[in-house]
Symmetry: C2
Subunit: 217 residues, 2 copies
């Protein structure tokens, strides 16, 4: 059986989980969306929906993890990268009619207390994101603890902003949390803490600077 | 039929939505948990699960809204109130084995693109929370726009931290986002931006101060 059938099943599942959650997605709907024969699902995922669900979480998690990592590690300017990440997320929400947010969050909330293997899969993804973001911000010059704190805050704020933005059908929450995170990152990197990208001064090299030493003028 | 049966149905539903989501909760499970006859559900909620779901969102939303409002409006010290709110949320998560987080978030993600009346109910709750928090922070001396931005950021960070904390079964995300929000609020109110409650100086009166004027030393 061609392995691109497997990919189509995983991608269709990720899309459906994003839009309607894990519990509300049936196997028949998955194979229909994936344009795959029903038997192929159990061929590739003998454990059924739970095995497929864990694989979707891992695949989608790895994809988003690369995005988080890129905020600092692959970008010459982590502040601009953070800004673009939130702007890009807002644009994607509009383009997809507020459907295409995080493929992990809905499932994570649904399964946290009722399905331990699935909860573990979501925890592994979040922990990988936190590690990737932390490494990226350390490469930009932040000490380990602060890089980890900013990364966790960023992922939490992003996930929560997705909830508010999808519910209210406005990108305001994403825009506001993005600006706040950019502001925090500028402070942490020792740049002036002006709020909002459009009010930023020219980009300068990042320097390590603990947030705890930031003082008001 | 006694109206406390109605309350038991609403409370049991809120508890079940919190733990396993809206889609994964069946009406039979609700009446069993509520210790109510099956017919009573349709007696009080002729529209069935959707009408009940919207009522649960409104009731739970109003309860949490009072908490958000109290952060500034009813507290003499909004910074201490913000700090205690996140600490209290972390303690509740531990006490309830990481189940008892927000009763709105899971439902909001599940229904955002597939059930417009339910999405509207979640949007109304989030908008009410934003208004209550904004009024509270304005009462503490912040200008309207900044009060709204901090409130939205706080709700987003809290909701996202719940996702991360429940998935990873650690209160670290709640603790870190709480400290970051306290730090932002201190900056906004013109207090020194030391990170972490335990490193705070003595509490002073809040003064309005736009975040955009905060400068590094």
């Amino acid at each position: 059986m061609p392995s691109d059938t497997r990919n189509r099943i995983v991608n269709a599942s990720a899309e459906l989980f994003r839009r309607q959650g894990y519990t509300g997605t049936g196997l028949k709907q998955i194979v229909a969306e994936a344009n795959a024969p029903f038997g192929s699902l159990y061929h590739f995922f003998p454990g059924g929906k739970e095995e497929l669900g864990a694989e979707v979480i891992r695949v989608a998690g790895a994809f988003f993890g690369r995005l988080f990592g890129s905020i600092a590690a692959e970008a010459p300017d982590p502040i601009a990268a953070m800004d673009e990440f939130f702007s890009g997320a807002a644009k994607t929400l509009i383009d997809t009619d507020y459907a295409d947010a995080c493929p992990i969050a809905t499932v994570a909330l649904e399964v946290a207390n009722i399905n331990e293997p699935m909860r573990n899969a979501t925890a592994e993804v979040f922990e990988a994101w936190i590690e990737q973001g932390t490494r990226g911000l350390m490469a930009a010059g932040l000490p380990q603890r602060q890089a980890r704190e900013i990364t966790i805050h960023m992922i939490a704020a992003l996930e929560g902003a997705f909830i508010l933005s999808r519910a209210t059908r406005t990108t305001e929450p994403l825009q506001i949390t993005g600006e706040a995170l950019v502001c925090d990152l500028r402070l942490a990197l020792g740049e002036p803490a002006s709020r909002g990208a459009q009010r930023r001064g020219p980009t300068r090299r990042a320097r390590p600077r603990p947030a705890a030493t930031a003082k008001r003028s």
